[in-house]
Assembly symmetry: C2
Homo-oligomer: 361 residues x 2
Amino acid sequence: MKSKSTIVDVAQLAGVSIKTVSRVINNERHVSGEMRRRVRAAVETLGFEPSPSARSVRGVAPQRSHVLAHFYGDPGGIYVNEIQLGMMSRARAVGYSVLVEQIDYESPEAEARFRGLIRRVRFDGAVLTAPLTDNPMLRRVLEDAGTPFVAVTPLSESPQIPSVGMDERRASYQLTQHLIAFGHRRIAYLRGLPNHAGAQLRFEGFQQAMREAGLPLDPALIEDGEFHYDVAIPCAGRLLAQPDRPTAIMAANDEMAAAVLKVACELELKLPEALSVVGFDDIPAAEMLWPALTTVRHPVHKLGAAAADLLLTRLLRGGAPDAWPTPAPHLILNHDIVLRASTAPVLARPSRPRLRRTAPS
Amino acid sequence: MKSKSTIVDVAQLAGVSIKTVSRVINNERHVSGEMRRRVRAAVETLGFEPSPSARSVRGVAPQRSHVLAHFYGDPGGIYVNEIQLGMMSRARAVGYSVLVEQIDYESPEAEARFRGLIRRVRFDGAVLTAPLTDNPMLRRVLEDAGTPFVAVTPLSESPQIPSVGMDERRASYQLTQHLIAFGHRRIAYLRGLPNHAGAQLRFEGFQQAMREAGLPLDPALIEDGEFHYDVAIPCAGRLLAQPDRPTAIMAANDEMAAAVLKVACELELKLPEALSVVGFDDIPAAEMLWPALTTVRHPVHKLGAAAADLLLTRLLRGGAPDAWPTPAPHLILNHDIVLRASTAPVLARPSRPRLRRTAPS
DNA sequence: CTGAAAGCGCTTACAG
DNA sequence: CTGAAAGCGCTTACAG
């Protein structure tokens, strides 16, 4: 209800031409201090705000929306929120905001929806997180629109697309070594969903550490927990029901590790002496669990910030909105191994009578 | 890189005037089927898309952004994400997107920032969550801008502002009754931050149930955990170190309840026999804890959806973007009490020798 | 350094 | 039902 005045009003009040007003508004050079001052004053008293629409009718850069989008695939939970917070931490400093959108990437109408979205709400750049990062449709649509984007993924999938991630394989390798150093030899593994690039890398890190230590990879000790608590519960049950049960269980994420702890508590195992458990990510619950979970701190917040940084430096570079350098930057952020109470040296277990063998499922 | 064609191109191809094209685009009446068909065909072949900027230079409705904003104050975590998901579930069906912004409401430059935000990124409506809901500055700025907003809060703070919430007092009351029904008489309470409207209501519900049961409110059994896990740890420690320690502890949220469980596990109390614990909210960790936490399911997702609904029905009503009805709607959504393993009937405890009294801190 | 003119792509009156 | 004209608020050439 405020901005009713136009450039003409300002020009009249300042006693100059509208062109001069335009020059001042756009901070062009070749304006005398006197003129500039007069125009500024007029703008102030009238509370004049240039109409964005009118400005962009004519050529002019397609007008920045000052919005960065975050697209993600699965419900995501805390992970999504941390990425956003990381993005915001950088965005707000330069006057940008963050828009979030869950993409139903498997739906047949996904492309039409997404094209509609990109036309309707203008955003200057986008961050994609797994499992969206390797979706060809999204890439194509974003490229068509000339919207730069950054992938949050451990894999540098394309030299054209910048990405940020952590070394998931190495982290998993280190965590496995930690268990091995504690004397564990029968170590079980709970895998995640294969559509997440990290799932494969984490498993590889585990395998590598086991191999290097000369430890066997018993297929009976590998389960697929799909990254979900509920799915991991029966997996943990099977693992711990084995006659020669593992002394340690490594889960590809904290949710599944939580499932292992739950089952172990229900079996009244004494933790961590009777069973060491490790997870991955360091979700808020990790510390709250009993015992507190040893895990890898996934620098999710930093990943969001780094992705936003990449986008913003390109967007704010002024000129050349052209393209990323080739090869596009691929950032690997540091992680921490968080040692808590859920891991302990393996105990020399008194040999016990073999239980009846459970049928493999 | 697509939409290069203008209304003139379309008019030429279709062999009509630009005015006719304009009419078809805007679905005006008084256009013959023939004309309409020809124009449609031309639009199709040219891939014509009217320029939003050009349309809005002239009068025309200020142009909807099709964006709903969610403003929140504290980091928020999973709560924030659930609100967003709820909002999205309604927004996407009608072509709206969700923008999120954390507001540093205590900063002195908050107002300037917020005014900048509201001018820069256009959003058609906003959802505010605690502790932002009763912030006068935000309200004023939004009202100045004529942007409708809905508060997510258990309190109907103003007849002008629509809100959605749950009956936090009643839920807390019910949960306390559950403990009392299990025979608990010494029930401790962990309070939350007073800047959250729910904190007070939850405490009132607890007090009411205690009073009605004729149970005393021992000040030594009330601690302030500030809704945070870390802060609640020492509180729980003090509570459980008392010579005549409580048989049940009620926490104003799940995070604090998790802290109680952690301390209890460390003291090697047998749960839930030796101590019943309840929380509030039903965060994802609630189920993962040992023992699984009895709590109130806060319908956060539904609150987000309901808030978005309120906004969208007003925005989509077409005409009259005027105002909310008076009094503005105040929706109370149902909650569930989730009974899990962390509560059990009180055990007749063998009287034990009094420990040395710990000094009140 | 300053300004009068033309034009951006579309819509609003106003005629037919 | 259709169209030629004028105009939205601003910017881009082009002169002074």
